[in-house]
């Protein structure tokens, strides 16, 4: 028991330190209704868009590593000090580079990343369109005639025959 307590003291526990709570925490009152600090949602937003620098693809908010907890504390302190979101983000950018953002920055270096998929989609769609037009063979008059017939012949007899044929075909 003792050992575990000490151990957890070491790992500690910078998560969720809010001044509001500091006031009411001292005499451990029974039955207080607690609520999240309203600024916490901004902390969450900023911290989940920052990368934990020592983890693989985990955000500062989600990671349990020591560094992430330190970074989270920095974010929280800054939010509580009233700094703007952009300033906090810039603070981390200056120290770690754009590597720290979970979302890659849209710049010329990351062009391939941002434009690539859409270029592929556009290119592919044009390619397909021309290919389909190319394959399209308008000489199959018989097919269109058959279609017309089937449009007109919607009598029950015909319909059931069509259905029977449909049954025997797998789609």
């Amino acid at each position: 028991m003792r050992h575990l307590l000490q151990w957890s003291m070491c790992v500690l526990a910078l998560l969720v330190v809010t001044p509001v709570m500091a006031q009411e925490a001292e005499p451990a009152k029974q039955g207080t209704v607690k609520a999240e600090d309203p600024r916490e949602s901004l902390v969450r937003k900023i911290a989940s868009e920052l990368r934990c620098a020592v983890c693989q693809s985990q955000s500062v908010y989600d990671s349990n590593s020591g560094l992430a907890k330190d970074m989270l504390k920095v974010v929280r302190d800054k939010v509580h000090a009233g700094e703007q979101e952009d300033d906090i983000r810039r603070y981390f950018l200056e120290r770690y580079g754009d590597y720290i953002y979970m979302e890659p920055v849209m710049n010329s270096r990351n062009m391939a990343l941002w434009a690539g998929p859409f270029a592929a989609l556009l290119f592919g769609a044009f390619g397909l369109w021309f290919a389909i037009r190319n394959w399209y063979n308008p000489n199959t008059k018989s097919a269109s005639k058959a279609d017309k017939n089937s449009d007109e012949a919607t009598s029950g007899d015909m319909k059931s025959r069509i259905q029977k044929e449909l049954d025997s075909i797998d789609m």
Partner: protein, 654 residues
């Protein structure tokens, strides 16, 4: 002693996989069937031997044989029996053996089932699959042998990674591997068809069920992984676009494209080269997944080992496979010209083509996002992070396009769609899609992607419903007395079609789950002492006490929290923070209560001295729908799997 038997069996299996490759080739050269039969029996023997090898490894775990390095590293005396057996795939070496074993099983089944029906392809199928087995067995035996002994026998093992001591992790890898390995059989048949140049569509018919089975397993495996992430990692989410998740998602995307486009080849004898390209891509992406996970190139929760030697080997293996496959494809592509031409621009064939485009672009996006940081670091020396926000921004719109096609496909007929018919079919779904906008706004959805998703859910749902209703209606007219027997007969006669449409519905349910959990998650992060309360929209949580729990190989701090819902329903949440004896890392055990509309998800955070413990309470709306959706998908896939040989008969009749 047993582990040596296993080791020897695996070595023998490696030798026999060479026989499996070579003997059928000799048979083709000399024209003697006996040689091909040798290849077939080698395949059976490889399966038997690898079964022995895997069994001895599991035996070593069960008997705590810590003289085996792999056992010493991945288990301990106190590890519960259930995890002892499954620790076999808890680490790198054993999971590769599992891969090889499942693979040999599939090969044996393929060699047994298709021997008579596909005699022309069989020697080549045996040769190719023998080559793949050989590649994996070399990796298992030369670079990462699970059979190695330790000189100094430790009194106790190092224990299994705590994150893997979880039922979700027990099922996740085998299902995923069944999916990966399952694509090997269609791949081999495709290559055999290419090489022999005889069987034009035969390979597709032969492997239709294999493909569907592999796809189902892969889907289930991915969902198991997501579920594991949801309840074991304690962050309230289930998908993080982690590179390893992406690695399993890419073959799923191309595999889905393949499943759709083979339908066009079956019916219209088109897209032959395209289908071959897709199956080769799918199988190589499965290998790429193994490479990414097993090489340690991307270290993440999943990558337990970091060893460049293995990475280089798998990369080389992939290069050989790609060169061989695409080489033959290019060499043979002339022989595969389509017999049919399109009769119209707007027809089901085109929707399948565009479906393939979107799925492929989706796969490219995931591939780009996964490999771009690696490439940038290797070539430009710069570092970049490609995280979830990127995928959410780029991947989701591509998938929305796919969703639109999903609604259109069933309403557009094969060959050519008549204009009048087309308009009539689309009026109601289009109106309902527009109605989706106010519904979305009313529900409080404000993100454009999510609004479009709601519209598309309405569109696809109604188009599928109309399709279904029309089928029932015409059957009612043509004799069926009541709607239920009509539905039964209709689905029974067309298991594949209605199985497929059921899968679509499952996807829609999942999408609803994505929106609900992604956009309406609520969190309360508070420090609590016994007696404290916290409110979380509709729930009131009261902390009763903290206490210590000791079980098997771990000790935990547990919070006992009484959660009461507005309507008086009450549950006791017991989130834990666990410390496993042999590991430094602590794991969070979230306490989860699942309901139809929401999940209550409570996590115990860190201890704040003198002030209590941090508690994170999440309300995750509709998250259950992600799992329900996956059940529906599995159900639909199973229905479709039941479609038997009728396909062949109709093919002959035509």
């Amino acid at each position: 002693m047993w582990i040596e038997v296993g080791h020897f069996a695996a070595i023998l299996a490696l030798v026999l996989s060479v026989t499996q490759m070579v003997a059928p080739m000799v048979g083709i050269r000399t024209g003697q069937l006996a040689w091909i039969r040798v290849g077939r029996y080698s395949a059976f023997a490889v399966f038997g031997l690898l079964t022995i090898a895997s069994a001895t490894l599991i035996h070593a775990f069960m008997t705590h044989d810590f003289s085996v390095t792999y056992v010493a590293q991945n288990s301990s005396l106190k590890l519960p029996t259930f995890y002892l057996a499954t620790a076999m795939w808890g680490g790198h070496e054993g999971s590769l053996l599992l891969w090889a074993w499942l693979m040999s099983f599939f090969i044996a089944v393929a060699a047994w089932k298709h021997w008579k029906t596909h005699s022309v392809s069989m020697p080549w199928v045996l040769m190719i699959l023998g080559g793949v087995t050989l590649g994996f067995l070399c990796l298992v035996l030369l670079l990462s042998s699970p059979f190695e002994r330790l000189l100094m026998i430790p009194p106790d093992g190092r224990d299994l990674n705590p994150l893997l001591q979880d039922p979700g992790m027990v099922f996740h890898p085998p299902f995923l591997y069944l999916g990966y390995v399952g694509f090997a059989v269609p791949y081999a048949f495709a290559m055999a068809a290419l090489i022999t140049g005889q069987a034009k569509d035969e390979w597709i018919l032969a492997t239709r069920r294999w493909t569907l089975f592999a796809w189902t397993m892969l889907t289930t495996g991915i969902v198991f992984g997501a579920y594991w992430a949801y309840y074991e990692l304690g962050w309230g989410g289930y998908w993080a676009w982690d590179p390893v998740e992406n690695a399993s998602f890419m073959p799923w995307l191309t595999g889905t494209a393949f499943l759709h486009s083979i339908m066009v080849q079956e019916r219209r004898q088109m897209f032959k080269v395209w289908n071959l390209f897709l199956i080769i891509t799918t199988f190589s992406l499965s290998l790429l997944g193994t490479f990414l996970v097993r090489s340690g190139v991307l270290s993440s929760v999943h990558a337990f080992a970091t060893d460049p030697g293995r990475g280089m080997y798998i990369l080389g293996f992939m290069a050989v496979m790609l060169l061989f496959s695409f080489g033959i494809l290019v060499w043979r592509s002339e022989a595969l010209k389509a017999d049919n031409r399109m009769d119209a621009v707007v027809c089901r064939e085109s929707t399948f083509l565009f479906n393939n485009l979107f799925l492929l672009v989706g796969a490219i996006t995931v591939l780009l996002g996964t490999l771009y940081p690696l490439a940038l670091e290797a070539f430009a020396g710069a570092k970049v992070t490609v995280g979830p926000p990127y995928f959410n921004k780029v991947f989701i719109p591509v998938m929305l396009g796919l969703l639109l096609l999903m609604g259109m496909g069933p309403l557009i007929s094969w060959r050519r769609a008549a204009q009048g018919q087309l308009k009539k079919n689309f009026v109601i779904p289009a109106i309902l899609a527009v109605v989706g906008i106010p519904i979305a706004l009313f529900l409080g959805i404000d993100h454009p992607y999510a609004i479009v998703t709601v519209m598309l859910i309405m569109f696809v749902g109604s188009s599928h419903f109309i399709d279904f209703k029309r089928g029932v209606h015409s059957r009612m007219q043509s004799g069926s007395s009541n709607p239920f027997s009509a539905i039964w007969r209709m689905v029974g006669r067309n298991k594949r079609r209605y199985g497929g449409l059921t899968v679509h519905i499952g996807i829609l349910v999942m999408c609803a789950g994505f929106i609900g959990s992604g956009m309406f998650q609520e969190v309360q992060t508070v420090i609590m002492q016994p007696g404290d309360k916290v409110k979380l929209s509709g729930w009131e949580l009261t902390l009763d006490r903290y206490h210590k729990v000791r079980k098997d190989n771990w000790t935990a701090t547990e919070a006992v929290i009484i959660a009461v819902r507005e309507d008086g329903h009450s549950v006791t949440a017991t989130p834990q923070k666990r410390k496993y004896d042999n590991h430094e890392m602590e794991t969070t055990e979230a306490s989860i209560f699942s309901y139809f509309w929401e999940d209550l998800y409570v996590v115990l955070g860190d201890r704040i001295p003198g002030r209590g413990w941090a508690i994170k309470a999440y309300r995750n709306p509709l998250i259950g729908w992600v799992w329900y959706g996956s059940f529906i998908i599995a159900l639909g896939a199973i229905v479709a799997l039941f479609q038997g040989r009728r396909l062949k008969k109709t093919q002959e009749a035509n």
